[in-house]
């Protein structure tokens, strides 16, 4: 090996790189190829949250022009429950219209 010397070994390395088409970089200069080799992670990150899917409300809206009725079981259950509450007198109070009258305000403030 001593016959060849440093210069010739580097030349050998260069030729070897040419033959096998690898990068010849004896000084170890940073070329930033590391960045180019990285994979893009955007698609994976974007798909984290589930996308919006069609809901029952959408179906009702879609079929309304054709006069088709879609069963909304959860909504029906809710309405039924509200009716039952009202019958027991436990329903939500009626919504007030306009500002409360003076008499009510006094009563409300009294503690």
């Amino acid at each position: 090996m001593e016959i060849y010397g440093r210069h010739s070994t580097s030349r050998l390395a260069k030729v070897r790189c040419q033959v096998f088409s690898t990068t010849f970089n004896p000084e170890g200069i940073r070329t930033g190829n590391k960045i180019l080799r990285q994979r893009l992670k955007g698609p994976a990150l974007v798909s984290y949250y589930p996308r919006k899917m069609s809901t029952v409300q959408d179906m009702i809206k879609e079929f309304a022009p054709y006069e088709l009725v879609v069963d909304n079981e959860e909504g029906d259950d809710r309405l039924e429950h509200i009716v039952a509450l009202k019958q027991r007198g436990k329903g939500a109070p009626k919504k007030k219209k306009g500002p409360p009258s003076k008499h009510e305000q006094k009563g409300g403030k009294k503690r």
Binding site: G32, L36, L40, K41, G42, L45, Y49, R51
Partner: protein
């Protein structure tokens, strides 16, 4: 920022301003990822002239903060919480526990060994 937000609402999970924000950050990051990588490449490449590299650095710092990957945080898809989220299920520990006990997560059951 509102310019990155989707014009039409497109989330199917628990919706919260925080989840919407995070989602728009993700989308912004995806849109600008190649540009960021290109700039990063220019900065790291020592064979380029120093001026180009400095320019690339400036450009990278001046990009909108929503295009940064560090802004993204995994949030719970059932409650929007940002802490204690299990990556495997995208849920907070409590939501995960409730779902697992109900048997909604395939294959997960109570362990004892």
């Amino acid at each position: 920022m509102s310019m990155f937000r989707a014009k039409k609402f497109d989330l199917g999970c628990f919706v919260n301003i925080k989840t919407i924000r995070d989602h728009s950050k993700r989308k912004a990051f995806e849109a600008f990822e190649t540009q960021r990588q290109a700039l990063r490449y220019c900065i790291r490449n020592q064979t380029l002239p120093a001026r180009t590299r400095a320019e690339a650095q400036l450009q990278l710092t001046q990009m909108h903060c929503y295009t940064r990957p560090t802004q993204i945080r995994n949030r719970c898809i059932l409650g929007g919480k940002g802490r204690g989220v299990l990556r495997d299920f995208k849920m907070t520990r409590f939501n995960f526990r409730m779902q697992a006990l109900e048997g909604n997560i395939p294959g997960v059951k109570k362990a004892s060994w």
